[in-house]
């Protein structure tokens, strides 16, 4: 089964149209991966759909890097009782 990091990378690659190999845990969504504001919203929606969770917009959009997203999603899955 894919890890949270692998799933985050896969979603990020699809939304931002990148090769997964370009995406590292330390990559920031806006500066390193070039996410524009609309794509940030698309990323949040896609993470919610991928993991079956609900994200607070302000908290989600303050996440800067892929690694931070993994931590944020892992915590949220725990809070919302979602198995990962």
């Amino acid at each position: 089964m894919a890890t949270v990091l692998e799933r985050v990378v896969a979603v990020t690659a699809r939304v931002l149209r990148l090769d997964p190999s370009e995406i590292k845990p330390e990559s920031t969504f806006t500066v390193d991966l070039g996410a524009e504001s609309v794509q940030s919203i698309e990323l949040v929606a896609s993470f919610e759909e991928e993991f079956g969770i609900e994200m607070d917009e302000d908290a989600a959009l303050s996440v800067e890097s892929v690694g931070d997203a993994v931590t944020f999603i892992t915590n949220l899955c725990g809070e919302q009782g979602v198995e990962i």
């Binding site: 504001s37 919203i41 698309e42 929606a45 896609s46 759909e49 607070d56 917009e57 302000d58 959009l61």
Partner: protein, 427 residues
């Protein structure tokens, strides 16, 4: 006699959404004045109080001189309690007389008249308690009490109401400045230009088919053509507009492009080209350049509108445009479908195609779907920036009211966001 205007959170209140989400129903416009102003004038009331849904009381209190949701308003005088959607023109109940009540078929209160000496028989602790006790204590009033049923009724009645309101206002002539060359068609008695209003050169005021009322401080830029009947509210600006018949524009608006038989509540911008017809636009709305709404279907069938996100309602009219709630913003090139419902506090980014007919309040419509976007906090920040530009402030009371509206509209927004999420995720 004290007139008490009543807006209860009834099951039918959503018939006036999205405009009535953030204001009492009597603050809606039709013709030159609001429904409330018409009721006050018709009844001849000098003493007015009002009761609104509790969530909007604090915000509304800042906008009116009338006591709001104050039980003290229910004592000390004869009372005439009138629902805010009662049509003033056809209201025939005597303001003072024996105590009587009138409810509609759904049990919603339309009128309660209480003689001062009967107040002791009633529970005056709250408006709801008073109405309930009056229902059992008094007989039914015989008079007919017609009501406005849906928000689009106001739009459809607007041209005729403009003509009636102009006659009722009894004003004509030029108190402002009309720079030459200019053309005023029709009778001079059908045009009123208020103090401080400025009509630039190369403007046509065509009052041949209806009166034109430009209120104080209005500015009309060159190459604007205004067809009557029309009302332009205080300090509004028309910018080369093709302003066709039946327009009511509230105060402090900027209007350009082609507009027809629509109502703009106030403080809104439709600065650029693009067509707006048979629409009702709230306050603090900004319609981006080329935003256009359809108001007629290609098969000329009657237009349906979905007010609750689920059930379309047949308007019975072949012409209904958009209903756009307060603080909504559209991007350039937005295309609204016939009879579109655009909730309050929405942000719309055009897709090049006509948008869905129902967009829930607080929706960020991006990439062709409803999303959470950057959330309500960003929308509030935008409102707090926009309002001081027109001399108003975003207050804690406003925010508290909108927080409640956010909760009230969640049931229509959540499924739309879930659907949008699935589309974005490719599922």
């Amino acid at each position: 006699m004290r007139l008490v205007l009543l807006d209860q959170p009834t099951a039918k209140r959503f018939h006036f959404y999205p405009l009535a989400l953030s204001r009492p129903i009597w603050e809606l416009r039709c013709g030159i004045t609001t429904l409330g102003e018409k009721l006050v004038a018709k009844i001849g009331a000098a003493d007015v109080a009002c009761f609104v849904p509790p969530y909007m009381a604090d915000a509304y209190r800042a906008q009116t001189a009338w006591p709001v949701n104050d039980p003290a308003s229910l004592a000390g005088d004869d009372l005439l309690i009138v629902a805010g959607n009662v049509r003033a023109e056809e209201f025939t109940c005597e303001p003072v007389g024996p105590s009587r009540v009138k409810f509609d078929a759904d049990g919603d209160c339309l009128v309660v008249r209480v003689a001062k000496e009967d107040l002791g028989k009633l529970n005056t602790g709250s408006i709801d308690a008073l109405i309930e006790s009056a229902k059992t204590a008094f007989g039914t009033c015989d008079c007919e009490v017609p009501v406005w049923k849906y928000v689009w009724d106001l739009v459809l009645a607007n041209p005729g109401q403009l003509t009636k309101d102009f006659a009722a206002a009894g004003r004509s002539g030029i108190e402002g400045t009309v720079e030459q060359p200019n053309a005023i068609r029709g009778g001079r008695g059908d045009v009123f230009i208020g103090k401080g209003a400025l009509v630039h050169p190369m403007v046509v005021l065509d009052a041949e088919h209806g009166p034109i009322y430009l209120d104080e401080g209005v500015e009309v830029h060159p190459f604007t053509r205004i067809e009557g009947p029309c009302y332009v509210g205080k300090k509004s600006i028309l910018l080369g507009a093709k302003c066709r018949e039946g327009m009511s524009i509230g105060p402090v608006c900027r209007v350009g492009g082609e507009v027809e038989e629509s109502i703009i509540q106030g403080y809104s911008n439709k600065y650029h080209d693009g067509f707006l017809g048979h629409a009702y636009v709230g306050e603090w709305v900004n319609l981006g350049a080329l935003t256009t709404n359809s108001d007629l279907k290609n098969d000329y069938s009657s237009v349906s509108v979905t007010l609750d996100g689920r059930t379309p309602i047949d308007t019975g009219s072949t012409k209904v445009g958009s209903l756009i709630g307060d603080h909504s913003k559209t991007s350039i090139g937005t295309l609204f479908n016939t009879g579109a419902y655009v909730g309050a506090m929405t942000l719309i980014a055009a897709t090049g195609k006509p948008l869905p007919k129902f967009i829930p309040s607080f929706a960020w419509f991006l990439e062709g779907v409803v999303t959470k976007g950057f959330g309500k906090r960003k929308l509030y920040e935008t409102a707090a920036k926009a309002m001081p530009r027109r001399g108003r402030q975003w207050t804690a009371a406003d925010e508290a009211m909108w927080d409640e509206i956010y909760k009230m509209t969640e049931s229509t927004r959540k499924p739309a966001i879930a659907k949008g999420r699935r589309v974005l995720a490719g599922n």
